[in-house]
Symmetry: C2
Subunit: 193 residues, 2 copies
DNA sequence: CCTACCGATCGGTAGG
DNA sequence: CCTACCGATCGGTAGG
């Protein structure tokens, strides 16, 4: 039992270290020797913990995907206005990113190195998630809660803003994630002008 | 003379093909053999046209940087309101992206593979460019043209939206780049609500 | 632009 | 988790 526990946490350690390397250097440019070195072990020893380099990427990408989807599930069927749904959806999305910035960066930038069946599966999840946000905007336009803007453009603008966060947000800075979420949601819905 | 001309266009061909590969597969995951293959020549032959793999990345990144900076130069000192400056600056930025989407994608996502002196130079140019936009927003807030929002957040939101374009914009679709620019600028300044 | 080739490094396996 | 190692591939050079 203790054996199993130790194995699990060590595996998580491997994945977490890999996440940071993938974020910093990119998946393709990170070697298993880089990873082993960071952990203070030999490259061959990594294969006691994981099956392959790509298995690490898979677990990062799909665990993040789950978290995003769950965040949307939480607000989608509440009895609130579409404007409020969008606002809360944005906040949940931002929170998932802020909770683990390196993993979010890998999820956003490195997913393309997923191979054959995984990449398709990943893209299917992503398009689905985006379409659910689009639906909220669509409904909101119908109800007169939003201006009659280009829906694709609106949803892309929202996601791009949210997904850029790992590139500039400093978790040790003065703004806490909660405040960033709110300000970002405000800015996107109400504009700058 | 004809010799020289032919050499130049062939080099441009190499760079353009590389740009598309770097965009699709990432810089690190694109091999010189991939590139040679796409061009129908041997890998070793590439070195008649270019000095190194990184030289290609450098020319893509710095040519794009020049284009962005020039677009901002064009509007910065005009005698117009800050709101109008921001609007026109966004449009110019979008136009540079739309003019060459693959090069824009490489500029945005692959610059980090630039080595020692180049990466620093690149980052210096980028921070400078961003700060000039920040200044416009700052001035606009002082003049009461914009709400008193978080400046860093505002400028990051704008760039993220613009820079996400290569990920979704289809140049063969129904919206032309001019219209996208305008809609995007509108949306960012006036909001969705 | 090609042939022939180099040293370095890659992800991963066998066997302990 | 280690030693010892593998075949494949990498960016690039020499010489034509």
């Amino acid at each position: 039992m203790i054996e199993v526990e130790r194995k699990n946490t060590r595996k998580e350690q491997v994945i977490q270290t890999a996440t940071e390397l993938f974020k910093d250097k990119g998946y393709a440019a990170t070697s298993m020797r880089d990873l082993a070195n960071e952990l203070g072990i030999e490259a061959a020893s990594l294969y006691y913990h994981i099956k392959s380099k790509e298995e690490i990427l898979q677990s990062i990408c799909f665990e993040m995907a789950d978290a995003f989807i769950q965040g949307l599930d939480d607000v989608e069927h509440r009895d609130i206005s579409n404007r409020e749904k969008l606002y809360q959806g944005i906040i949940n999305h931002t929170k998932v990113i802020a909770r683990d910035l390196p993993a979010a960066a890998v999820f956003l930038n490195e997913y393309r190195y997923l191979s054959a069946p995984w990449l398709k599966k990943f893209l299917r999840l992503r398009i689905n998630y985006i379409n659910r946000f689009k639906k909220i905007i669509e409904d909101g336009i119908k109800e007169g809660e939003f201006k009659n803007v280009n829906k694709k453009l609106a949803v892309m603008t929202i996601f791009s803003s949210l997904n850029w966060m790992p590139n500039w947000y400093n978790p040790k800075g003065k703004i806490d994630p909660e405040a960033v979420s709110k300000q970002l949601a405000q800015l996107l819905i109400n504009g700058l002008g």
